[in-house]
């Protein structure tokens, strides 16, 4: 799936200090009926973001105009539940390029990496600091640097490094996906099949 090359993002962040945010909250199943990868951002966090009559819930961070930016900061175990890649498409389509948490569900993390959305895992203590920084100043700037594998609170200069496997890092930096790689491997795959 085509996505923007990722190098470094400097941006304010949107806080979502909730744990175990599951993929049914990120995008409820009833919004999975599209056959193209378009427009999912409108229904991102649908039931937390809108009242039943469709009016925005004023206390939800995405509806708070003081928050903005390409970085979402969320509580631990983000993205648990379903394998729906629509969750990533919704976050990406809304404009997020980075999600920061202290813990991600496996399938969500894989899906994010396959779609140019960077999952940044930080320590619980650093996550708390990030939340505090946003609370102090909703316009506070953060930097996600893929090359250095760092996430930095720009005002204080406090920074943490995050893990990413070198292959995925290479893919994200160059906007590549695994399909190009696998298709080029067909001869090897065929030989493997014959040897089975």
């Amino acid at each position: 799936m085509a996505y923007d090359k990722f190098s470094k993002i400097t941006s304010p962040a949107v806080p979502l200090p909730v744990e175990n945010v599951d993929t049914d909250q990120i995008i409820p199943a009833r919004y999975l009926k599209a056959v193209e990868r378009k427009g999912f951002g409108d229904n991102l966090f649908r039931d937390w973001r809108y009242n039943k009559d469709g009016t925005p819930k004023t206390d939800f961070p995405l509806n708070n105009s003081s928050y903005s930016g390409k970085v979402l900061v969320a509580g631990k175990n983000f993205g648990s539940g379903s394998s729906r890649e629509h969750a990533i498409w919704a976050l990406y389509d809304y404009g997020f390029r980075v999600v920061v948490s202290s813990f991600f569900a496996d399938i969500f993390r894989n899906n994010a990496l396959n779609n140019g959305l960077l999952p940044v895992i930080v320590s619980p203590e650093f996550l708390e600091k990030i939340f505090q920084e946003i609370e102090k100043n909703p316009a506070a700037q953060f930097e996600a640097n893929l090359e250095n594998q760092t996430f930095t609170i720009l005002k204080t200069g406090e920074s943490e490094t995050f893990e990413i496997n070198p292959y995925k890092k290479h893919c994200l930096k160059n906007g590549l996906d695994d399909i190009d790689y696998l298709v080029a491997l067909k001869e090897e795959i065929t030989a493997f099949e014959e040897g089975k």
């Binding site: 799936m1 744990e19 990868r37 569900a105 396959n114 399909i179 696998l182």
Partner: protein
């Protein structure tokens, strides 16, 4: 020789290559697809001008958003109809076996795979659905994937995966009366939490596990994902072999003999080391019920909802948010709580054994007048067997009707939505906020506990009525 786990043996036999500093290229034997997570993958193939690499290794069926009534009519919901039509068209174009609505092979993907004999020990099986872990019950490596990965499998019959860590969960002893595979699973998740299995692949072992039927094993492995693990598996034995034998896609004749002798070797070596181990005692498990909004928030049915006292920080806020959504109070007993809906079905508990348990329980009793019950067989074959065994008559006499196969109220993508604020006892797999419909309140339980609730209209210990 190095001691290996069952997982290692199957994984290593399917690793085409290891990318340096990256994931393995893992060969996939069986690929299952459905209408919701495949259309964008097919679109991707088209954009790249690619064909399906091994069409005979993919099997398709619509399940997630199909209606469970009047399946002979055109699907009323336009978007659902379009997704189902699209799946059918994509399968025709790429020569993929498609099991249409009402055909003998139709049903929830994770129910039909085993029924058709596509699911076999030692295989790698993937599907764009997290409950693909179900197939691990046969001693296969089976796990859910995203749409990008569905496209990878279609294009190359491989995906790129880092090798997970290995966990073994041993449940010793015998299960007590009224305790089912569903209760084992909910018990385990309540003990290790919904993130306890993250980064791992589970192997289940111990007497309480090996004494389970294939249906029970599928229920247990199905729920592995709810602990955060990618999948769970059980070493194949006679129970497994007897289940697979004679099914449509099972090996036949000399191939069968050869397969069986290979399957008998599929087990973890005695010296094999797991990254994480847990041991539980079956005697500690009673019928389980969830009180909160994730599958880890479960308790034995006679226990009380935990108290907030002693919790701190984010654990406390998560707990309170859950109770508020459910309309429950800390420290309360679950017994006697009101039940408006009962849902029996899904890839977790939509198999024949689940309907036998439910029908056996309600036989000669009567459904509570205030309860709306949705009984949704997991497949055409399950529905047919229910009728062959006369269970439909027992159910009807007790005031229950069967619907037609599909995922139904498990994720409420079709019309089967629990109304806002209503309480549902559900045999499915997720009690997330709004999972069964906006504002719906879900309590996960076994088919027996669901049956007790359907008869009394309240949360009831099924053992008191058996």
């Amino acid at each position: 020789m190095e001691a290996n786990t069952l997982f290692d043996k199957i994984w290593d036999a399917h690793a085409v290559k290891q990318v340096e500093g990256g994931p393995a290229v893992l060969y996939i034997d069986r690929h299952l697809i459905h209408e919701v997570t495949s259309p964008v993958a097919f679109l991707g193939l088209k954009t790249r001008g690619l064909k399906v690499f091994r069409p005979d290794q993919t099997t398709a069926t619509p399940d997630h958003n199909v209606p469970t009534e009047n399946q002979h009519l055109t699907i009323m919901d336009e978007l659902s109809r379009h997704q189902v039509d699209m799946l059918k068209r994509n399968c025709e174009e790429h020569n993929i076996k498609y099991h249409d609505l009402q055909s003998d092979g139709h049903g929830i993907v994770h129910i039909i795979g085993p029924e058709l004999g596509l699911t076999q020990p030692g295989l790698t099986i993937v599907c764009g659905d997290s409950h693909t872990s179900t197939h691990g019950a046969f001693g296969a490596i089976a796990f859910g994937i995203g749409t990008s990965e569905v496209e990878m499998v279609l294009a190359s019959q491989c995906i790129m995966q880092p090798k997970p860590k290995k966990m073994r969960i041993t449940v010793n002893g015998e299960l007590k009366k009224g305790v089912t595979a569903k209760d084992i699973a909910l018990y385990i998740i309540s003990q290790i939490s919904t993130s306890g299995g993250t980064g791992h692949f589970i192997e289940y072992a111990g007497q309480a596990i090996t004494s389970l039927s294939m249906e029970g094993r599928m229920t247990l492995c199905n729920l592995s994902i709810e602990s955060g693990a990618r999948g769970g598996m059980i070493a194949p034995d006679e129970t497994t072999i007897n289940y697979v034998k004679g099914r449509q896609y099972a090996p036949k004749g000399a191939d069968w003999e050869k397969a069986v002798s290979a399957w008998k070797e599929l087990k973890s070596d005695e010296e094999a080391v797991f990254d994480t181990e847990y041991t539980f005692d079956a005697a500690d498990i009673e019928p389980m019920i969830t009180y909160g909004t994730n599958p880890g928030m479960g308790i034995g049915i006679t226990q009380n909802i935990p108290k907030v006292n002693g919790m701190s920080g984010s654990d406390k806020s998560t707990f309170l948010k859950s109770l508020q959504y459910m309309g429950y109070t800390e420290g309360d007993s679950m017994i006697g709580k009101q039940v408006d809906y009962v849902f029996v079905g899904s890839c977790t508990n939509g198999r024949i054994e689940d309907f036998r348990a439910f029908a056996g329980f309600v036989k000669g009793k009567e459904k509570a007048p205030g309860v709306t019950a949705w009984l949704v067989p997991g497949s055409q074959k399950v529905e047919k067997q229910i009728r062959n065994e006369g269970l439909d008559k027992i159910l009807e006499a007790a005031g229950f009707q069967l619907r037609q196969p599909g995922c139904s109220a498990c994720l409420a993508m079709n019309e089967d939505k629990i109304p806002d604020g209503k309480y549902a006892v559900s045999t499915s797999n997720r009690n997330f906020e709004g999972r069964q419909g906006p504002g719906a309140r879900t309590m996960l339980a076994s088919p027996l506990t669901a049956a007790a609730a359907a008869i009394t209209g309240t949360i009831t210990d099924p053992r008191d009525m058996m």
